[in-house]
């Protein structure tokens, strides 16, 4: 790197070896030794001896301080005493005393060529100016951050999307233990989106206060719709229902003539901010790559062995999305390889087996909302009208059913190479309970005083859960149990135990699946 070359080169250049080798260097030394030169030589020798005795480099700065003249010392700076000498000692801590190429004390001679006025800037030793409190000032840090923010905003204006369109997010949801977890994550992602947003939330089983209170916290423009059917227990049926819920949302977009870019934000997915920037580029319908994080279920011996074998065979990456040829044109689709999981897939929510994605997830597709409008003039011919899908008996698996010609899909995210969102379905057990809106009301009573721990009939295998000594931890324990606890035995017995003690308090709570 040029820097290092320069610095090293200066280091080497100025070493004594070149002075000896150069020989023809500045002709000042050509003249015979003057008394002054001899004096400096003797002084130099003396300093070397002193350094030898003392063990560190005796700085001739001492002499400089004695002999500094007023005429030239004017512009050289302050000497904040302690910190400066401190640094000197730090640097000169090494035992070696270096013979300086030229006596540093030699104040610049006023010999200047010709009649040019000498520079105000003085050559020679200057002080290192350190202010009394060399630490950051918080006000200035805040000002700097505001400057940085302004610069970044300007960058976004200049290089970012010119005319951002509204983003319409369609989310099917239903009340369950993990709903808060998933929905809060999605909500925070959406709150960070720098564009206008409309959030359509379809809730299975009708709208509830639970969901509504969550949505109210977001401050986004939401359309909260209830769907009459309840979420079934099996994954197959679930997917079917979710598809219908999404279609319901599409109908709303059509009725209200919402304008913007439609994306399917499932509450269990994880979205990156780049996704929202990327989907602004869509013209009619686009596809992004979805990373599939298929949770490999419980550590069943057999399945893990099979998994490892599959890994060794170099599985293709777990990504669903568009596949392009070398000229960046869509040629096909990457689909999640579910072969290793054949036969091991989860059927019911409770299963500990792997939950598999569908062939093509809805969330990987992005639509221009004008595709859905009744009579948009510039709607391309290869799009079916939404009304035609109403009476269709067969399953609508993905937005591709909306198209007559699936090759018109635009691949986004540098042709599917960038994975901009991740799919992962983790749900609690069907029978897990949680307090409504996660508010404990009325407050829990102490069922067993702390002194009596451990509980008399607690199973011995989970001592860590039992060493609670406070009410909060007691509450947490109950929450922990109601989440997806993996060990069957303890959870069952715990539940039984808890249901005995908790029933009187649970009366006001809604027990959900």
């Amino acid at each position: 790197m040029k820097l290092s070359a320069l610095q090293q080169s200066y280091t080497n250049r100025r070493s004594n070896s070149f002075r000896a080798a150069g020989g023809l260097d500045s002709s000042v030394d050509g003249s015979g030794k003057s008394p002054a030169a001899i004096f400096w030589l003797v002084l130099h020798g003396l300093c070397c001896l002193i350094s030898l005795v003392l063990g560190f480099r005796f700085s001739r700065l001492v002499f400089f301080l004695f002999f500094s003249t007023a005429s030239n010392g004017g512009t050289s700076g302050l000497y904040p005493s302690t910190p400066f000498l401190g640094t000197t000692a730090d640097i000169a801590g090494s035992l070696s005393f270096q013979a300086n190429p030229s006596p540093n004390l030699e104040l610049p001679p006023n010999r200047t060529a010709g009649g040019i006025s000498s520079s105000r800037v003085v050559v020679g030793r200057h002080g290192i100016r350190i202010r009394p409190w060399p630490h950051p000032n918080p006000d200035e840090v805040m000002k700097a951050h505001r400057i940085i923010e302004r610069v970044q905003r300007e960058q976004k204006l200049q290089f970012g999307i010119k005319n951002p369109r509204t983003v319409i997010v369609v989310t099917p949801t239903y009340v369950r233990t993990f709903q808060t977890l998933h929905l809060t994550g999605l909500m925070h992602s959406l709150m960070n989106v720098p564009y206008d947003l409309i959030w359509i939330v379809i809730e299975a089983g009708g709208t509830t206060n639970e969901t509504a209170s969550l949505l109210a916290k977001s401050g986004l423009r939401t359309i909260h719709i209830g769907f009459d059917r309840r979420m079934p227990n099996s994954w197959e049926d679930r997917h079917r229902l979710e598809a219908q819920m999404r279609l319901r949302a599409l109908r709303i977009v059509r009725e209200e003539k919402l304008d913007g870019i439609l994306m399917f934000g499932d509450d269990s997915n994880m979205h990156s901010m780049e996704l929202f920037d990327e989907i602004q580029k869509v013209k009619w319908i686009g596809a992004v790559s979805v990373g599939i994080l298929a949770h490999s279920g419980n550590t069943d011996e057999l399945s893990s062995v099979a998994h490892k074998k599959a890994e060794e065979e170099n599985l293709p990456p777990p990504v669903q999305g568009p596949a392009c040829n070398s000229s960046e044109k869509l040629v096909g689709w990457h689909i999640f390889n579910s072969l290793p999981y054949v036969g091991n897939g989860a059927t019911y929510i409770d299963d500990r087996a792997t939950v598999l994605p569908r062939k093509l997830e809805w969330s990987g597709f992005v639509l221009n909302s004008r595709l859905l409008w009744k009579a948009a003039e510039d709607r391309p011919e290869w799009v079916k009208d939404l009304d035609k899908l109403d009476g269709v008996r067969e399953e609508i698996e993905s937005p591709l059913s909306l198209l007559k010609d699936p090759s018109m899909v635009e691949p986004l995210g540098s042709c599917g190479r960038k994975v901009l969102l991740w799919w992962l379905r983790v749900e609690a057990r069907t029978d897990s309970k949680f307090p409504a809106r996660w508010i404990i009301d009325p407050p829990l009573e102490v069922t067993v005083p702390a002194k009596r721990t451990p509980w008399p009939d607690a199973p011995p295998e989970l001592p860590s859960n039992v060493k609670e000594i406070s009410i909060q931890e007691h509450t947490e324990k109950r929450h922990a149990k109601s989440r997806a606890s993996r060990s069957k035995h303890s959870s069952r017995s715990k539940r039984k135990h808890e249901s005995r003690t908790a029933d009187p308090q649970v009366s006001s709570k809604v027990s959900e699946e």
Binding site: R111, T112, G124, R129
Partner: protein, 416 residues
């Protein structure tokens, strides 16, 4: 009445369109035109405004030296070699010396390199003298003006003082024989012995391809406030500090080493160029000499240069208004650098970035091969063209002699 109404409507239309136009201009404006004290001259075309005659020196002054050490083509003093090559094939070159306005002597004085790649200036004065003796004896043009219409490229640390140490350079002064010629050099400091009146300051050579290959997408947000990589203490030559950089670099370190806004260190990261593009300010403090390639790098990467070097003269100072582009901090104000930088209003910062984004600004700092319009070669020619026409007084009367051929240190007089 009808007329009044029509006039009123037309006026309204004009007003609204002007407003819209202004808004569009403001929103989409990415750059601003740059005009310095000499006017809006960055994009001038020198062809047709001057003629340059290139002396044919024996190859021992240029080609042979380059053959001995091809590293001269990539170090930061390579401008002298590339200027020669550019002039040889440029339309401003003339083969008829009678019609030439300027005369160029291609002598590579900064090509005597140590094993580490640093130029040794000890033989350079002799080399220059020998070249001048050659041209004055073989052609009449030197003697008729004693070099007043000749220009030389001397990109070394302290220009034509031909020494790397400032005290020695000041003692030597500019080579006596060059006192009437125009010097094209990288060193520039006001009221300094080694900067002659009428010299043209140029940027140090930085390899354009290398910098272009490290560009990152312009929408990458700038998240570093102040960036600097380099030495603060030159432990080899100035272990106590205070000598190197007149103590300014050491002051930067001591005052801001634990300030989270300042990303400063002595590391040599692989992502140096990329990091510069993610920074708002880049420090360009002096080292042993006041100039440094950091200025060029900062301009190319859109990072506002913070110049800490008292009285420095920056490249093409008459064509580029550096005060509007960079931030100048006096060496004695270094302890207050954070206050100074954070108190700059954001509009000023955005304006500086707009000026830096101007492509002609970036072009003016580069020496691309082959030459492109608006690059540093053309700026040098523009500078030379602005000095035309020569005054009548540069031509010596017959018999008049101004230069003393035996002036200067005795060692210089030895033949090369």
């Amino acid at each position: 009445m009808e007329l009044c109404r029509w006039v009123f409507c037309v006026l309204l239309l004009i007003a609204s369109s002007l407003r819209v136009g202004a808004e569009q201009l403001r929103r989409g404006q990415r750059t601003e035109r740059i005009s310095g004290s000499a006017g809006d001259v960055l994009e001038d075309n020198p062809v047709g405004r001057l003629k340059v005659f290139v002396y044919e020196l024996p190859s021992k002054y240029n080609k042979k030296i380059l053959q001995k050490d091809p590293r001269c083509l990539t170090h930061m003093f390579a401008a002298e070699i590339f200027m020669h090559r550019f002039l040889l094939s440029s339309p401003v070159r003339t083969l008829n010396p009678e019609e030439a306005d300027w005369f160029y002597t291609p002598v590579y004085t900064t090509c005597d390199l140590t094993p580490n790649g640093l130029p040794l200036p000890f033989k350079s004065p002799r080399m220059m003298r020998s070249a001048i003796q050659l041209i004055s004896s073989n052609w009449p043009y030197w003697n008729r003006t004693e070099g007043a219409d000749h220009f030389f490229v001397v990109p070394h640390d302290f220009g034509a003082c031909f020494h790397y140490q400032e005290e020695k350079a000041i003692e030597r002064g500019i080579l006596h024989l060059l006192q009437r010629a125009t010097l094209v050099q990288t060193f520039g400091q006001r009221n300094h012995v080694c900067l002659k009146e009428g010299s043209i300051t140029i940027p140090p050579y930085a390899p354009p391809q290398k910098m272009q290959s490290h560009l990152i997408p312009p929408d990458t947000p700038r998240s570093i406030f102040v960036y600097f990589r380099g030495l603060f203490y030159d432990v080899g030559n100035d272990p106590e500090g205070g000598y190197y950089a007149r103590g300014a670099r050491a002051a930067v370190w001591e005052n801001f080493k634990d300030n989270p806004l300042f990303d400063i260190s002595t590391e040599h990261p692989m992502t140096y160029y990329e990091d510069m593009q993610r920074a708002v300010f880049c420090l360009c403090p002096l080292g042993w000499a006041p100039w440094s390639p950091r200025l060029v790098e900062g301009v190319i990467f859109g990072c506002i240069p913070v110049i800490i070097a008292d009285d420095i003269v920056l490249p093409f100072a008459d064509a580029i208004p550096w005060e509007e582009i960079g931030v100048f901090v006096a060496e004695e104000d270094v302890p207050n650098l954070d206050t100074i930088l954070t108190s700059i209003p954001p509009e000023v910062i955005l304006r500086k970035q707009r000026l830096l984004a101007n492509p002609s600004m970036k072009q003016a700092m580069l020496f691309p091969q082959p030459a492109q319009p608006g690059d540093a070669f053309h700026q040098i020619l523009n500078g030379l063209a602005r000095k035309l026409p020569h005054g009548r007084n540069i031509y010596l009367k017959p018999g008049e002699k101004i230069l003393n051929w035996t002036a200067g240190p005795v060692g210089d007089l030895k033949p090369w």
